[in-house]
């Protein structure tokens, strides 16, 4: 089109009606599309990098030895040649001693034996040279250190002792799992009934104006930083419950569990409430028309119809408690015990990462194990989310629509 036409009358031609190519628009749309993939990219990156950093925990013996040699020039401090090396030497030289820890050592040793036997040549050679050349040659001292690391991993990853910073480090994750499950169980046993009942009240019994108030009020609890809840549990709840029940350790899995329940309640409440209100009004109307009372409708019609949603809500609550760090750090006592007594201190997986990552040497075994725990947490949370998603999407919709 030219300016004359535009002035007099607008004449539509095939040319003028065709979409004009505007570079800025094209650019903006492509930019928007690519930015939208950021969240997917972040998920993949998280998985990749958290897993990548956990590799030191898996490294095989010969590989670890060579890699240590290469990287030794770059970061000499990180493999502070003395510490792990002495840990390895101890059982060799003082094997006959009366110490309890050294007594235990041979057991974990034998556990690692089969894998050690797979690569006998390099190992045997290392063993012999390292003891003699240890003091003279720093390079050689790296070899037994790698061996000590590896032994810790294979022998005691599923052991019942978590002593990551002792001379003879053991990374048994059983107490951490026991602690995490204990706290999670207590938190969910406390949070789920309260949150579900509250959601039932808000959706079925409360008048509309009351509902308008309850929902935002409970969602305010979700806005409380976990460090504040942890502080409250540490300073107030711990003392209160100790006076109430009279147990010995002030900070234990019970206090931690109750505190985490406070963090889980808003999540379970919100999702349950959404699931309950998503039930079609025809369900309730049919039930009421048949003569059922209000509570009968709520308990026997609405609640069963929303079961998949409630299940998903509890699952997401579990996920929240499982990964909660600050409350666990502050209120559970952080002792890696594996007893089943709820009034005992525990150490959860997430709290272990939070407490130990600051002191760890980058790139060594302990560092790798902590990232391994992180990967486990991530995978666990990812699957919980996927299951919950499936339940909300698939089952609830199918159930409501009667297909």
């Amino acid at each position: 089109m030219n300016s004359d036409q535009a002035k007099t009358a607008y004449i539509f031609t095939a040319e003028s009606l065709r979409k004009k190519f505007r570079f800025s628009e094209f650019f903006a749309e492509k930019l928007i599309t690519s930015v939208a993939f950021l969240s997917i990219a972040v998920i993949i990156l998280i998985f990749f990098f958290v897993f990548r950093e956990s590799l030191p925990a898996f490294k095989g013996k010969p590989k670890a030895t060579t890699e240590n040699k290469v990287s030794a020039g770059n970061k000499p401090e990180s493999y502070g040649s003395s510490e792990p090396a002495t840990a390895e030497q101890k059982p060799e030289t003082y094997s006959g001693e009366e110490k309890v820890t050294t007594e235990k050592k041979p057991e974990t040793y034998t556990g690692a034996e089969p894998t050690a036997a797979n690569k006998p040549e390099t190992n045997g050679a290392d063993k012999d040279t390292s003891v003699s050349a240890d003091e003279v040659n720093p390079d050689a001292s790296l070899r037994p250190s790698a061996k000590a690391e590896n032994e810790g991993s294979l022998g005691s990853l599923f052991g019942s002792e978590w002593f990551p910073v002792s001379e003879n480090p053991r990374y048994g994750m059983i107490p951490l799992f026991v602690g995490t499950f204990k706290v999670t169980l207590i938190a969910i046993l406390f949070a789920a009934p309260i949150a579900i009942l509250a959601a039932l009240f808000s959706s079925s019994f409360a008048s509309p104006w009351l509902r308008e108030w309850i929902k935002p009020a409970i969602e305010l609890l979700a806005g409380f930083p976990s460090v504040v809840i942890g502080f409250f549990a540490l300073m107030v709840m711990a003392t209160f419950f100790q006076n109430l029940f009279g147990y010995e350790t002030r900070l234990n899995s019970f206090v931690g569990g109750i505190a985490m329940a406070l963090a889980a309640i808003p999540i379970i409440f919100t999702i349950t409430e959404d699931a309950l209100t998503a039930i079609p009004a025809t369900y309730k109307e049919a039930s009421l028309a048949l003569g059922a009372s209000k509570w009968q409708t709520a308990v026997f019609v609405t609640l069963p119809a929303a079961t998949p949603g409630i299940f998903a809500a509890v699952l997401l609550g579990v996920g929240r408690v499982f990964g909660e760090t600050m409350i666990a750090l502050m209120a559970t006592g952080n002792a890696a015990l594996s007893g089943l007594n709820p009034f005992e201190s525990v150490r959860t997986l997430a709290a272990t990462i939070g407490a130990e990552m600051a002191e760890v040497v980058f790139g060594d075994m302990h560092y790798g194990i902590l990232f391994l725990i992180g990967s486990l947490l991530f995978v666990f949370n990812f699957s919980i989310n996927a299951i919950a998603e499936f339940y909300i999407k698939g089952k609830l919709i199918k159930k409501i629509q009667g297909r």
Binding site: P193, F201, G223, F224, V227, V228, G374
Partner: protein, 299 residues
Amino acid sequence: MRLKNKIIGGAITSASAVSVILIISIIVIILVVTIIGGKDKISWEFITSFPKEGMMEGGIFPAIYGTALLVIIMSIAAVPFGAITAIYLSEYAHEKSWIAQSIRFAVRTLATVPSIIFGLFGLGFFIQFVGPGMDKWFLGGQLKWAQPNLLWASLTMALLTLPVVIVSVEEAIRTVPRELREASLALGATKWQTIKKVVIPGSISGIMTGTILAVSRGAGEVAPILFTGAAYSLATLPTSVSDQFMNLGYHIYVMSTQSSNVDKTLPIQFATTLVLLMLTFTLNLAAVLIRSSLRRRVK
């Protein structure tokens, strides 16, 4: 029979009402306890002065300043990306397409990933991967970026708060009436022009809510910054993004668990908690109010 029914009904109704009251009273108790514990210590001087005598005396200004810097840089990173993702999801992507579905799934997953995992990611990605790369290419191996600092902590926090922004902006975009969009398109505006002139102005309150919620979340989270940049005690305020910083939540955590004299500093701890709680509480309240007025607009 009828009596039995009445009793069960009454029990269930009252049990559910008690649960609501219990939850709300927990909120009130936390607020009241923190206010009572911190009210003697809190003052203008406490907020604006530096800590003295190894944290035993003085104020918490550096922690407030560090938290403010953290959330500002975090918002600069998170809000545009979150808003753009929300625009894509609501304006460009088809609801049923696998791309939209998987982006939504990723956003929801991101919202449920434990915050400590973000901390690990920040350490593994920014400090162990990006930082050393930057040092190598820009500074010739000099150690500057490959260590915990304000920038990495803020970016880690931005990832954590991204879903918060996306969800609230999307919610707001959905309140922009379809007719407005259609009118704009009918007048000959292109899709991008419609988004720029109609959709974004219409959803500005949602972007604000998202920012407020993200700031409140970012101010309160501690786990992601534990090893990506927070420091317990610093003599000076951070002057560049490559400095470490103090943070309110981290301050509370360290003071209450690792301080040498927990009892003596208890008033300071309560006052710090009060400041943090008031900050997040006010922000959340503002977001709730904006959001509920938004919901009313839809109705």
